[in-house]
């Protein structure tokens, strides 16, 4: 009876807080089929740093990223949408997106990864940039294919510098991309770190 009363009381409480903005595919049915050819279905999961590990996880992600989560919109409670990609009954990969602050607006960067964490497809769903055409071009996205977290780990998002030995150093910035190229690289690195924390490192354990 006490439990029932508690449940009713909780339901009766007003919803005081609004959730932070996430990063979903605009049209998952179409986008999943395009980013993961051969897949037969997907399941959606909603994760956040707050619910997956809280402050210790946030500190670990920030340390691996080499930059702090900042601003009004990059917070511990941002919900991340993770699409588990299926072929038949087997998971064959993942699609995950993050929001990134760009020079003139938000950038939504999605990565499709196989089960080993290797990038199969790169997709900028939304951005506002003087180099928008170049950053959304197929040729630019193709440079990310085959790369993995280890290739982006040396990237310093604060200085926007990548050592020449890093695997991702071969990625060429489109003309006029300016700061937005660095923002895209930060988004990719953050995306891969979060996926590693949410999926791959948990699998290893």
């Amino acid at each position: 009876m006490k439990k029932l009363f508690l449940l009713l009381t909780l339901l009766a409480l007003p919803r005081a807080a609004f959730a932070a903005v996430g990063c979903d595919l605009n049209d998952p049915d179409r986008d999943v089929a395009r980013l993961f050819p051969g897949s037969t279905g997907y399941k959606t999961r909603y994760l956040s740093v707050k619910t997956s590990g809280g402050q210790p996880l946030l500190e670990r992600v920030e340390k691996r990223l080499g930059d702090k989560f900042k601003g009004l919109y990059e917070t511990i409670d941002v919900p991340y949408t993770l699409y588990d990609i299926y072929k038949g009954k087997e998971i064959v990969g993942y699609i995950h997106g993050v929001n990134q602050k760009g020079e003139y607006g938000g950038i939504q960067v999605f990565l499709a990864l196989d089960k080993a964490g290797v990038i199969r497809a790169f997709y900028i769903q939304k951005l506002t940039s003087r180099a928008a055409k170049g950053l959304r071009a197929k040729e630019f996205g193709a440079q990310f294919e085959g790369l993995a977290l280890r290739d982006f780990e040396p990237y310093d998002p604060v200085l926007a510098k990548l050592p020449p030995a890093a695997g991702a150093s071969a990625i060429k910035a489109p003309a006029k991309a300016g700061k937005d190229f660095g923002s895209v690289l930060r988004a990719v690195k953050k995306n891969l770190i979060l996926l590693d924390e949410f999926v791959f490192s948990k699998k290893e354990k």
Binding site: A12, N26, G71, L72, Y73, Y104, G105, S129, R130
Partner: protein
């Protein structure tokens, strides 16, 4: 021992039956209180939403979509314009307290989604718009001070999507000029949350719409006759009048139609509960036929017996009614979530406004219904003949 404690003890003799009868009354009271609360809450919310618009009448060019959502559904096309001179024409009417011109503009952004999407911008007057939207609060910064400034104020969700803060730059697709963000609004729960506001003259200049507006918000004086004023506006050439009072009336008419049906169901629930009360108390009277006869033979008057049985009904309805109203308070948010799920439009804020007045009204209605249904069993009990009752009991 007085008549109240006898009635109370009688109810406790058949606990399950009493609990079931009280449960029926509780459910009726719950439905009634929730519906009365919904009626009040919905009307309050609708009034608040309309007041939050800041103006009671919106004037647009004939056939012009006047909301960003409609504009986007139409693919950014279909905008029609009025000359800015209409501001002066309307303002000369004695009914008008304030006016604020607006210019909506949609731009196709090829870099939104796979196939591009429409980004909408609302040009507003830096002087007249903020006082009309006094309920808008800032999370950061404030309104632009100059109608020519290349500055923007973003609704919270627009700012969140664009990850903009005060001092950041915005780039309008197809326009090379940079816009500086000077304000980010707090969430308001209205369509303003997703709006990008720019100074109206700047929008006119950026999109080659000098001297044109798409909408004129009009705040009417409190004592003015809005209907007569709207009729006057219809005389203006090529404009359509969107009356928030009309919108409110239309929505309330729709809600009232639904409410009549739901109130009917609540009425049926009340009648079923009353039938349950009659059944319970009548059964109790029949079971205690001999007992009532003995009480009467000991000197109890018919009125005493009537009061005793009627008091049982009153207690049953009082407990059931109070529990139902308590339940309505506890489940108000849950019921609200259900109503929001099913209703095509629900205003912001609490939809079920339960207060002392509504609780009292529901309680009185339930108790009155219960007392009414207790009259017959009490009358039957009062008419019991002592000797006959004792003899029948003896024969059994």
């Amino acid at each position: 021992m007085n008549v109240y404690s006898i009635a109370y003890k009688n109810l406790l003799r058949k606990k399950t039956r009493t609990a079931l009868a009280a449960g029926g009354i509780m459910l009726s009271a719950w439905v009634l209180a929730t519906l009365l609360g919904f009626n009040k809450g919905y009307q309050q919310g609708l009034n608040r939403d309309i007041d939050n618009m800041g103006f009671q009448v919106l004037l647009t060019a004939k056939g012009c979509p006047y909301e960003a959502a409609t504009l986007m559904l139409k693919g950014g096309t279909g905008l029609r314009y009025m000359p800015e001179a209409v501001v002066k024409t309307v303002y000369t009417n004695p009914e008008v307290e304030k006016v604020t011109p607006m210019l909506m503009h949609g731009v196709f952004d090829p870099d939104k989604g796979e196939n591009g999407a429409i980004a909408a911008y609302l040009g507003v007057d830096a002087v007249s718009y903020p006082p009309m939207k006094a309920y808008l609060e800032f999370k950061q910064g404030g309104w632009f001070k100059d109608n020519n400034a290349l500055e923007a104020v973003l609704g919270y969700e627009a700012a969140e999507l664009e990850t903009r803060e005060v001092g950041d730059k915005l780039l309008i697709p197809g326009v090379e000029k940079e816009i500086t963000v000077v304000g980010v609004l707090k969430r308001s729960g209205t369509q303003d949350d997703g709006t990008i506001f720019l100074p109206i003259t700047a929008v006119q200049a950026l999109f080659n719409k000098k001297g044109l507006i798409t909408g004129l918000g009009i705040k009417v004086k409190k004592d003015a006759d809005i209907n007569a004023f709207e009729n006057k506006l219809y005389d203006l050439p090529d404009v359509q009048v969107v009356s928030m009072a009309q919108v409110k009336t239309t929505i309330m008419n729709l809600v009232n139609s639904a409410r009549v049906i739901v109130m009917g169901i609540a009425g049926i629930a009340l009648i079923i509960a009353m039938a349950g009360v009659i059944n319970t108390i009548l059964m109790s009277v029949m079971e205690r036929y001999a007992e009532i006869g003995i009480i009467k033979s000991m000197g109890a008057m018919p009125l005493d017996v009537f009061k005793m049985i009627w008091m049982e009904t009153a207690l049953l309805c009082g407990f059931g009614g109070a529990a139902g109203i308590g339940l309505a308070f506890v489940t108000a948010r849950l019921a609200e979530a259900g109503v929001r799920y099913f209703l095509p439009y629900a205003p912001n804020g609490a939809l079920i406004a339960l207060d002392f007045g509504i609780s009292g009204a529901a309680f009185l209605l339930i108790t009155a219904g219960g007392l009414l249904s207790g009259i017959y069993p009490a009358w039957r009990a009062a008419r019991v003949r002592p000797l006959e009752a004792i003899r029948i009991e003896g024969e059994q």
